[in-house]
Symmetry: C2
C-alpha cells in the first residue's frame, strides 16, 4: 500500500494529474524505486473507486486532474499517525533464503553468504556515490530542484545505506555463527567417534517419513 498512500500524500498538496504524480514521486525516491506510469493510472482509478480521490476537471491543456477527498485526507492522516508495523514486517527474501540454506543439505551456505555480501557491498558503494552527488547539490535527472525534494531524496538514500550496512553486518554475523556451528558439530562428531558403539539414542529427530 506504499504507492497508494504516496500518491495520496502528493495529491494532498493540491490537485495533480497522472504524469505529474509519477514525476514528483520519483523526485523523492530517486532512481531507487522507479514507478511505471501505467501504475499511477491504475492506482488512481482504484483510489477513485474507494472514494479517496475524485476527478477534478481538466486543464486548459487537457490534463486530467485529481483531487483528494475528505475521506482521502482522513486516510492520509491515519497513515501518518500509525507507525509502520514492525512486529510483523514484510517477508525478507534474503532471510528466508538463508534460513532455507542452513536447513537444506547440499547447499554451500558460505557461498550464498559471500555472493550476497559482494552484491550488497556493491549496492552500498552505489548508494554512497549517489549520496555524494546529492550532497553536491545535483538532483536526479529531469527533476526540478527543490529543498523538500532534496531532503526527501537524501533521507531515502540514508535509509538505503543504513539498511544495507546492517545487512552486510548481519551476513558477517551469519558467517561467524556458521563457523561456531561447524566447530560444535566437529566436536560432537569427535565425541561420537570416541564413544564408539556405545551410542545413546537420546536425540530424537529428523524426518517423519509416514
Amino acid at each position: 500500500m506504499s504507492i497508494r498512500h504516496g500518491l495520496l500524500a502528493l495529491l494532498d498538496q493540491g490537485p495533480r494529474y497522472g504524469y505529474q504524480l509519477r514525476t514528483e514521486f520519483e523526485a523523492r525516491t530517486g532512481a531507487t524505486w522507479p514507478l511505471n506510469v501505467g501504475q499511477v493510472y491504475t492506482t488512481l482509478s482504484r483510489l477513485e473507486r474507494d472514494g479517496l480521490v475524485e476527478a477534478a476537471g481538466e486543464d486548459d491543456e487537457g490534463h486530467q486532474f485529481y483531487a483528494v477527498t475528505d475521506a482521502g485526507r482522513a486516510e492520509l492522516r491515519t497513515w501518518f499517525d500509525t507507525p509502520v508495523p514492525r512486529t510483523s514486517p514484510p517477508r525478507d527474501e534474503l532471510a528466508i533464503k538463508l534460513a532455507m540454506a542452513v536447513t537444506v543439505p547440499g547447499v554451500d551456505v558460505s557461498a550464498v553468504v559471500q555472493g550476497q555480501r559482494r552484491h550488497s557491498i556493491k549496492a552500498l558503494q552505489d548508494y554512497t556515490r549517489l549520496k555524494g552527488r546529492a550532497l553536491a547539490g545535483e538532483t536526479g535527472p529531469g527533476t526540478v530542484p527543490s529543498e523538500g525534494n532534496d531532503l526527501a531524496w537524501l533521507l531515502v538514500l540514508d535509509q538505503l545505506i543504513f539498511q544495507t550496512e546492517a545487512e552486510i553486518r548481519w551476513l558477517d554475523h551469519c558467517e561467524t555463527r556458521l563457523a561456531q556451528q561447524a566447530e560444535l558439530q566437529q566436536a560432537r562428531a569427535a565425541e561420537a567417534a570416541r564413544d564408539g558403539a556405545a551410542r545413546k539414542p537420546g536425540r530424537l529427530g529428523r524426518r517423519t517419513r509416514a
Copy 2:
C-alpha cells in the same frame, strides 16, 4: 517469490505434503511471518502448473505428497546462486512515508518519527526477548526441535534485530537532519527579516533576491 522458493527448498529435502510444509516453514521463520495454510496449497498448485513440483502419490494415511522436479531443482539452484537484488530493493513503506512527510506541508514530521521510533523500539525488545528464549533452547510452540531449525530461526531473529536497530538509528539520524534543516530555515528567515527591517517594505513587500 519468497514463499515459492521457500517451499521449493523444503521439498528439496524430500517429498512433503501441504500441512507439513507449513509447519516446517514456520519452524524456521518462527512467529514472525505466519504462513496461512491455504497459501501453501495455492502456491503448490502454481508450482505444479510451472512444472517445478509434481504430485508424488498418497500416503497410507491419505496425505498428498509433492516432490520437486528437475526443473524445480534447477530453479532452486539459481535461486541460491543469485543474490537478492539490493540495487532495486523492495519499496520500503517507512522510507516512502517519511519522504512524503517532509514534503507535504502540514505534517508533523517529528511526531511521525517519534511514533515510529517508539514502535520500533518495542519490536526490538520483543525480538531480543525471543532471542533470549531461543538461546535458552526453547523452540517455537508446537515444533519439533532440530538443530538446523534452531539455527535458521536464530539467524532470522538476528536479521530482524539488525534491521530494526538500523531503522532506529536511521530515525534518529532523520531527526538530526530535520533539526539542521529547521536551523537553516530559521537562519534564512532571520536574514530575510533583517533585510526587511532595513528597508521596511511593508507586509506585502517583495523579496527579490538575485
